[in-house]
Symmetry: C2
Subunit: 368 residues, 2 copies
C-alpha cells in the first residue's frame, strides 16, 4: 500500500474549497513548532488582531475554531443554548435546516421561520416569531450556500435585540467576499469557514462573540454540552492565561495567518468590489447564453451563483465534462435543488475574470 | 498589520507536537482540490486502508476525525453514551479526568476508578467497578501524556467484555510509537492524535469503532448530542454514499496520507523498536546524571518520559534555557505534577539518537 498524491489540480468554482494562493500553501509547509512556543503565541496574537479586522469587530473573543465551518456553527450554538431555550431559526436552505438540527440537539426549543429556497427570509416573519415568547436567540444564514441567497440582516438584528435575544449569523460563504460588519450590524455570534471567500484550505472556523454573547456564556447555569467547543475554556487558551485546552492545529494556523495577511493587503473593500465585478461578469455572460440565476437581483450572492439548469441539459454530464475536459469544478444542487441548479462559486482567489471567461467558454461549447 | 512567519524552528521533545518530516509538510502544500473530486475520494480511500493497518484493525469505521485529538476523545464518547448510561472511567492523570468530564456532559453516570499519578490502573479496581451495575463502557488512557504511564489493556478489555461493556481507549501518545493492537486487544473505540508518534501536524484525530461500537451507535434511542462529531453521519460521508456532512480538511489530509505512507514504509515493528531504543538511551543517560523517571519500569512510555526535577533545579529556567540556547523544547508538568517533572517526548520523527544525545548534552551543561 502506498500511492502518491498525484491528483489533478483544478480551477475551483464550486461551493468550496476555493483555490488557495501559493503563499498560503507554502506557509502551511513551514516546520511545526509547539503550540506553547513563544513564537507561536505571537502568531496567535497576530491572528486574533487580523481576524478582528476581517470580521469588522472589536470583539475580544474572535478566534479560529479548530474545526471546519460546521464546527463553527456548532460552537456558536452550543455555547449559547441551554436546555429549553427558545431558538428562532430561519430556514431557507440546507444550512438553516442544519442550524435547527444543531439547536435541537442542545435542548433548544426550535421555532422555525421559513422561506422558499431561493428567497430571503422576510423580517416580518421573524418579528412574528419573536412575539411568540421570550427568545434566547435568532439564528440566520447570511449567505445560503445551497441557494445563493444573500440575506439582509440589519432589520432582523434590530428586532432581535429589541426582543432581548442574541443574533447568531452564519457567514460561511460571505466573509471575505461580501461585507460582513459584525459590530455595525449587531451580530452577537458570527462564524465562517476558511475555504470559501477567505481562500484558505478547509479546517478552521472563524468565530466572533459579542460582549452580550460572552455574558450569556458566563451566566450559563449548565456546563456547555460539548467539551471540544466549550468557549469558556477555549477562550482561556486563546487568552492571556494560555490555559491548556487542546493542541492548536499549528500548520493550519500558519496558513490562516498568511491568508488573513493577504486579504488585508488587498483590502476588504477592494475584495468586495472584485467579487461583485466578477459575479456581474458571470451573470451577464450566462444571460447571453439564456441562463438564469435563481435568486432575484438584490438578493444574489457574489460568491455563490445558483444557475438554473436549462431544459435538455444533463446536470451530471455537464459537470463531469467541465471537470474532465477543462479541469473546472462547479457544484451540483443540494437538497430540493438537486438536479435543478448548478452552483458556481466565485470565492477568494477563485474570483477572477479569467476564471469567469474560462467557465463561460467551456459552457458554451458543452451546452451547444 | 502584517508580520511574517519568522519564528525559530525547534527540536520538538515536548509532549507534542513532534517534528514533522519535510515530505509531510510538502504534501500539505499541494494545491487544494474539492473534497468531492474523484482524485480526493481516492485519497480518502487510501487513507482508510493505511489507517487500518497502522491501527491494526479491520474495522470498517476507521477514519481521521476533522479535529485534534481532543475531538477524537469527544467523538469516541459522545457517539456511544446516551443519558444515564453507566460509564466506568479510569483516572490516573489529566486525560482520564478529561474523559470523565466529557462523559458527564453527555449525561453518562460516571464511576471513576483511580490510581495515583505515575501509577497504572489496577485491573482489580476496574473489576470491582464493573460489579457495581450494568456498564455501557469502560474508558481508559493507554498512554497518559501527563504522567508517562503505559497502561496494560488486555485484562481490562477481557473483563469489560465479560460484563457486556465497550472498551474505549485513548491512544493519543502511543499510536505509531508503541504497539496499539485494536483488534487483538478487543478495543471497541480507539482514538489518537496526529501530532505525537505519527509525526503529522496537529488537527486530525484517528478514530476506529469496532462492530460492537457501531452496533451501539446504530441502536441509539436518542440523536448523538453533537452534530459535528455524529459518526452516524460522518461515516456516510467517508463511506460509499459520500453523503455530504462537512467539508473535509483537504490539505491536512494530504499530510495525513503522506505521514501514514512514511510510517508503513518504515514498518510498525521497526518503529516500535526505534522508540524503545531511544527511550532506553535517554533513561540510561539521565540515570548517569542522577535523574529518575517517574513511572516504574514496565509501565514507562517510550514516547513520553516524565523526569523527576532534581533538587535545586529551577523548572521554568531550565526549560527556557533549553529553548533559547539550544532550540530544544521539552514540556513542564501538568496538573498535580506541575513543577515536579519534565516531560520529554520522543515521538515519531523526534525519536532519534541524535536528539537524545543533544538533549543529554544540553542538560549536562545547564544542570552543572
Amino acid at each position: 500500500m502506498s500511492g502518491s498524491l498525484d491528483f489533478t489540480p483544478r480551477i475551483l468554482m464550486g461551493p468550496g474549497p476555493s483555490n488557495v494562493d501559493a503563499r498560503v500553501l507554502q506557509a502551511m509547509a513551514l516546520p511545526s513548532i509547539s503550540h506553547l512556543d513563544p513564537g507561536f503565541i505571537e502568531i496567535m496574537e497576530r491572528i486574533k488582531t487580523m481576524l478582528r479586522e476581517v470580521m469588522m469587530t472589536t470583539n475580544e473573543l474572535t478566534i479560529p475554531v479548530s474545526g471546519t465551518g460546521s464546527a463553527g456553527m456548532e460552537a456558536a450554538l452550543c455555547n449559547l443554548i441551554e436546555p429549553r431555550d427558545r431558538c428562532v431559526v430561519c430556514v431557507n436552505g440546507v444550512f438553516g435546516s442544519r442550524m435547527a438540527d444543531v439547536c435541537s440537539r442542545y435542548g433548544g426549543e426550535v421555532v422555525t421561520v421559513s422561506a422558499s429556497w431561493g428567497q430571503p427570509i422576510d423580517p416580518d416573519d421573524v418579528r412574528e416569531a419573536l412575539e411568540g415568547g421570550p427568545t434566547k436567540l435568532v439564528a440566520i444564514v447570511h449567505a445560503e450556500t445551497s441557494t445563493g441567497v444573500l440575506q439582509p440582516l440589519e432589520d432582523i438584528s434590530h428586532m432581535t435585540h429589541e426582543a432581548g435575544g442574541l443574533l447568531v449569523v452564519d457567514c460561511v460563504t460571505s466573509l471575505g467576499g461580501h461585507p460582513v460588519k459584525v459590530d455595525e450590524w449587531g451580530i452577537d455570534a458570527c462564524y465562517s469557514g476558511t475555504q470559501k471567500c477567505l481562500s484558505i484550505p478547509p479546517g478552521l472556523a472563524p468565530l466572533s462573540f459579542s460582549p452580550a454573547a460572552v455574558a450569556a456564556l458566563e451566566s450559563r447555569t449548565t456546563k456547555v454540552a460539548n467539551w471540544y467547543l466549550d468557549m469558556s475554556m477555549v477562550r482561556e487558551y486563546w487568552g492571556e492565561d494560555r490555559t491548556y485546552h487542546h493542541t492548536a492545529p499549528v500548520n493550519a494556523l500558519y496558513g490562516f495567518h498568511e491568508g488573513l495577511r493577504l486579504i488585508l493587503a488587498e483590502g476588504l473593500e477592494a475584495r468586495w468590489v472584485r467579487h461583485q465585478a466578477n459575479h456581474e461578469l458571470l451573470v451577464a455572460g450566462l444571460a447571453e447564453m439564456g441562463l438564469e440565476i435563481l435568486p432575484a437581483p438584490g438578493y444574489r450572492l457574489w460568491s455563490l451563483n445558483t444557475v438554473r439548469i436549462p431544459e435538455g441539459a444533463d446536470d451530471v454530464r455537464v459537470r463531469k465534462r467541465l471537470l474532465n475536459e477543462y479541469d473546472i469544478e462547479i457544484g451540483g444542487g443540494l437538497g430540493e435543488l438537486k438536479g435543478k441548479v448548478w452552483r458556481v462559486g466565485l470565492m477568494g482567489a477563485s474570483s477572477t475574470r479569467n476564471n469567469v471567461n474560462a467557465l463561460l467558454g467551456a459552457l458554451k461549447t458543452i451546452l451547444r
